[in-house]
Amino acid sequence: MSTTVENGRLSAAGNSLLRLNAGLLLVPALLFYAALFVWPLVLSTWGSFAPAGQLSLETYAHFFGDEFYRSVLWRSMRISAITTLMTLIIGYPIAVYLSQNWRKGRSLVVFLVIAPMFVSAVVRSYGWIIILGPNGILSSLMNSIGIPMGHLLYSEAGVIIALTHVFLPFMVIALVGSLQQIDPSLARAAQILGANGVSVFLRVILPLTLPGISAGSVIVFCLAASGFVTPALVGGAAVPVMPYLVYKEGLLVLNWPFASAVALILLVATALVTAIYTFAVRDGASKRRVVR
C-alpha cells in the first residue's frame, strides 16, 4: 500500500519535473523574440523620439505640422475603411453560401475564393495593373460598348478595388467561422413564429454574426492599413499611403527617425480605430439586447 502512495508521489514529482522541463521549451522562442522583435522595436521607437540623442518630439511635430503628411494618414485610414466595408458587403453572401454544408460545388467555391489568399500580393496587383491600365481590359471593354472611360490605374478607386480583392478571403473566413456556430434551428424557429426571410436574417442571423463581422473587419482594416505592395503598384506615387511613406523615408530618403515615427503613427492610428470600432459594435449589440 505504502509503495503505491510512494509511487503516486513519485509520479507526481516526475510530473512536475516534466512540466518544468516542458516549460523550458519556451526559452528558444522567447530569446528569439526578445532579440529580433522586442529589442529592434524598442530601438526604432527610441530613435523616433530621440533623433539627435536627446528626447524631443520634433519628428512627430514635423509629421503633424505638415498638410501633406496629415493627408497621407487620412488617406490610409479612408482607403482601409472603404476596403473593409467592401469586403464585408461582397463577402457576406459568399460566407452564407459556404456555411451551408449541403451544397454541391462547395469545395470548388472554397478553392476559388480562398486559394487566391496564398498568391503573392505582387502577382495580384500585377493582374489589376493589366486590367485597370490605360490600354487595359476594363477601359477597352467599356470603350467597345461605347462608354468612354479613363483608366483607374494610379487612382484611389483602383487601389481600393485591388485591396478588396486581396483581403476578401480573410473576411470570408472570419464570417464563415461565426456563421457555422449558429444553431440552424434558431432560423427555423423564427420562421415557424411567422418571420419572413428578410426579418429572419436581420433579427436572428445578423446579430448572431456580429462577433464574426467585428473580427473580420478588424483583421481586414489592419491588413489594408499596413498593406504596402498593392498601393505602391496600383496607386504608386499618385496615391501615397502610410506604408509607402515608411518605405520612401526609410529606404530612399534614409531619414530613419522620421520613417520610424510614420510607422508608429500608423500603428497607433490603426489600433485606435479598431478599438473604437470594436467597442461600438459590442456596445450596439448589448444595447439591443437591453431593448429586447
Partner: protein, 265 residues
C-alpha cells in the same frame, strides 16, 4: 429563387477572384512583349528568358532557400513554444500566446524597418540569414496557433499512460504526441513557406542587390515596366504557391482555415 440568385452571385465573385491571377498567366504566355487583347500568339519564350537570366534565376533559388529555411526554423521554434505553452499555467500561457502572436498585429513595414536599423547598427550585412530571421517573426505565430489548436483534440491520458508505462518525455513526444499533431505541424511548415514566399514588406528592407528574393525583385521590376517577362516571373510565384496549397489541401484539407475539424486520415 433566393438560392439561385445566391448561387449566381457566388459564381460571379469566384470568377472575379481568379480573374486577375489568370490574366497574369495569360500575359506570360503571350508572344508579344506587352499584353493586348486578344493575345497575339502563344509562346513560352518569356519563361525561357526568365530562367536563363541570372538576375531572375538567382532570385528564384534564393527564394526557395529562404522559404525552406523559414519553414524549418519556424516549425522547430513554433512546436517547441507550443509544447512549452501547454506546460505552463493558463494565465501565463494566455499572456505569452498574445505576445507570440503580436508580430501579426503590427504593420509589417514597421518590423522590416526596425530590423533594418537593428542589423545596420550592429554592422550585419544582408544575407539569407538576415531575411530568414526577419520572416521567421511573421511565420512562427501561425505554427504556434495551428499546433496549439491541434492540442485541443488530444486526450491527455494517452501521454500520461505512456509515461506511466515508463516512456521518458522524449519518447512520449515522439511516439504519442507527435503522431497526433503531425497534420498541424505539416500545415504550419507549408504555411510558413507560403508566408515567406508572399513577403515583400520585410524582405524589401532586409535585402541588398546581391540578396534579392523573387517577390522583391518582381516588385521592383513591375514598378518600372509591366511586360510579359514580369508576367512570366509572376506566374512562377503562382506555381510555387499552388504547389504548397495543393500539398496542404491533400494532407489536412483546406477546411482547417475555417477552424473546422481537420480531416482525419
Amino acid at each position: 429563387m433566393m438560392n439561385r440568385v445566391l448561387t449566381v452571385y457566388v459564381a460571379i465573385v469566384s470568377g472575379l477572384m481568379i480573374f486577375p491571377i489568370a490574366i497574369v498567366i495569360v500575359a506570360s504566355l503571350n508572344s508579344a512583349a506587352y499584353l493586348s487583347f486578344p493575345p497575339s500568339g502563344f509562346s513560352l519564350t518569356w519563361y525561357q528568358q526568365v530562367m536563363s537570366d541570372p538576375i531572375w534565376s538567382d532570385a528564384l533559388w534564393l527564394t526557395l532557400k529562404i522559404g525552406v529555411a523559414v519553414a524549418s526554423l519556424s516549425t522547430v521554434l513554433g512546436v517547441a513554444a507550443a509544447l512549452g505553452l501547454r506546460a505552463v499555467d493558463n494565465t501565463l500561457s494566455g499572456v505569452l500566446q498574445t505576445f507570440f502572436l503580436s508580430p501579426l498585429m503590427l504593420p509589417t513595414v514597421l518590423i522590416g524597418l526596425a530590423l533594418m536599423q537593428f542589423y545596420q547598427s550592429l554592422g550585419i550585412k544582408a544575407s539569407v540569414l538576415t531575411v530568414t530571421l526577419g520572416q521567421l517573426l511573421i511565420a512562427c505565430p501561425y505554427v504556434i496557433r495551428l499546433v496549439l489548436a491541434s492540442f485541443n483534440g488530444i486526450d491527455p491520458r494517452l501521454e500520461r499512460a505512456a509515461s506511466i508505462l515508463g516512456a521518458n518525455p522524449v519518447r512520449v513526444f515522439w511516439h504519442v504526441t507527435f503522431p497526433l499533431i503531425r497534420h498541424a505541424v505539416l500545415a504550419g511548415f507549408l504555411f510558413s513557406f507560403i508566408v515567406s514566399l508572399d513577403d515583400v514588406n520585410i524582405a524589401l528592407f532586409l535585402s541588398d542587390t546581391h540578396t534579392t528574393p523573387l517577390p522583391v525583385q518582381l516588385f521592383s521590376y513591375i514598378e518600372q515596366n509591366a511586360d510579359s517577362l514580369g508576367a512570366a516571373a509572376a506566374s512562377l510565384l503562382v506555381l510555387l504557391a499552388c504547389l504548397a496549397v495543393f500539398i496542404c489541401d491533400r494532407i489536412v484539407g483546406i477546411e482547417w482555415l475555417f477552424g473546422a475539424k481537420q480531416r482525419s486520415s
